[in-house]
Subunit: 313 residues, 2 copies
């Protein structure tokens, strides 16, 4: 019987492991094997330089930061297995976690399986990923490669409007490609968008291909009504078409919100099942930063520790 | 007119500065001069080794971590002034911040002034601070100096019970000094406490003096009814008598909870005044960790950025 199993491998999972390890809970972490389509370490492994994680004034590469966090988890006493969990049974305590052919029982569970940014999988995307192609304007927008360049944003919701507005701080111009002839963003946001001289919306427009040598140089677009193709010279392309929280493995056993994120009691990591805690992007569609994920990972460990001390007898 | 003033100097304030700087808000930070009774850098400057801030597997000293964060804030574009703010006017926007003889106006304000752990100021405390004397069991309990030692905890509330229970993982025995003949902690907690063979409560007992050469070796105690003095051989002393949030300078202009902490909309950094955001320990009496403070600092900057973009015209 395990005290505490942690599922995930990003900043939330490792911060939970660090705190739970130090609290002598002897936590077991399943970091997954390419779970959610990314390497162990989570979404930060798909980034290059991280300049906004506090404590590293010179910046640190995403993969390197995650290697450090993993090392710290192990040092604090966490055991880590590189197995993807695709099934759990939360119907009663102890909970069951199915790891390949093994079934484990655990008194408490921290879910930090993250979310995966949606992409279009168009030609050039894979080659130029993090070389001008990004799925996070807040994370990457300030990087030097985007300064005074034309930047293309794909998406029509609130996030797309927020991120494109944000990017006007850095780019010479921001072109927003909207697939339909209307934005899903709120009216107020659309108004502010119109007042921003650096923003241009292209309606009924989709990206077809990204090209560039060492980094993004152009985006080929198509008007899906007229079928006319053109090429926009651009130094960056940002996806703002949402994220998919990695909650399918829960199979409806926890309360999720309408977009599939785990619901937590606001300001805590408590989920709809007592003894199950959620941290990081799997429960956060608002902030989604490494440091906010780490913060909630810490909260989950402290709350799991409290739960276990109250249910030890 | 400033866009954004940040008051504070700990992980919350610096993370807010890093994010606000990168978002080109040109933030101005007042780190204070020994504000709240601690050096710029906040409570971490009163600790020695920090082992639980994710990203530093070898540990990092509290002051060193804060030097790094400060360097990062400056690098990201924050301006920092070493002046303590003891008065603000939040009655209308722009808000007014009084910095010595200067009055500044700002469109938005992030408050991250922290909290100060209460101490008793008994003889030996200052000399042995962080040499066995601590005000945070979760932060310091796992340090080697406390292993298999008798540990003394001072306090009678929920926190004292939680922290003393936590410390039984490390110490050979934990002695809780309760000033009165009753605990303020909940009944359920008291029950669990009784079942823990490593915990001993001494009623009507107060600490009078801490002694030791290089680290804590003994605590002189007095029974406040019988006036009998004894000495407990102990390797550590933990204060769990609460914190004082640094909110006096607000002079009642923001909604506070019953213990003086700034009230935020749960899961956000929004305060009762639009355009004023609170992050870190000044609004958190529950988690109080460097990484949770940093997480809320990031949230505050993102929320201030959104507020400013919505109120820029």
């Amino acid at each position: 019987m395990e005290n505490l199993i942690i599922i995930g491998s990003g900043p939330a999972a490792h911060t939970a492991a660090i705190y739970a390890g130090r609290a002598k809970l002897n936590p077991l972490m399943f970091e997954g094997f390419n779970a959610g389509g990314v390497a162990a370490g989570g979404q930060l492994t798909t980034t290059t330089e991280v300049e906004n994680y506090p404590g590293f004034p010179e910046g640190i590469s995403g993969p390197k930061l995650m290697v450090k966090m993993r090392e710290q988890s192990v040092k604090c006493g966490a055991r880590i297995e590189t197995v993807t969990i695709d099934k759990v049974d939360l119907s009663k305590r102890p909970f069951k976690v199915f790891a390949g052919s093994k079934t484990l029982e655990t008194k408490a569970l921290i879910l930090a399986t993250g979310a995966t940014a949606k992409r279009l999988n168009i030609p050039g995307e894979e080659k130029l990923w993090q070389k001008g192609v990004s799925a996070c304007a807040v994370c990457d927008g300030a990087l030097p490669i985007f300064r005074n360049k034309v930047l293309v944003v794909i998406g029509g919701g609130d996030t797309a409007v927020e991120e494109s507005t944000f990017l006007t701080k850095y780019g010479s111009k921001v072109v927003v490609l909207v697939r339909r002839d209307v934005l899903r963003a709120s009216k107020a946001m659309q108004e502010r968008m119109k007042q921003n001289p650096k923003l241009e919306i292209m309606w009924n427009t989709e990206a077809k291909e990204i090209s560039g040598n060492k980094s993004v140089e152009a985006v080929k677009i198509i008007n899906n009504k007229t079928k006319k193709e053109t090429t926009v010279a651009a130094g960056g392309l940002f996806y703002a078409i949402g994220h998919t929280p990695n909650t399918a493995f829960l199979n409806g056993q926890l309360e999720l919100d309408e977009t599939g994120y785990i619901k937590t009691n606001s300001g805590t990591t408590y989920t709809s099942v007592e003894g199950v805690f959620a941290a990081g992007d799997v429960q956060d569609k608002r902030y989604r930063q490494a440091v906010t994920a780490a913060g909630t990972g810490c909260m989950a460990a402290l709350e799991a520790e409290k739960f276990l001390s109250e249910h030890s007898s």
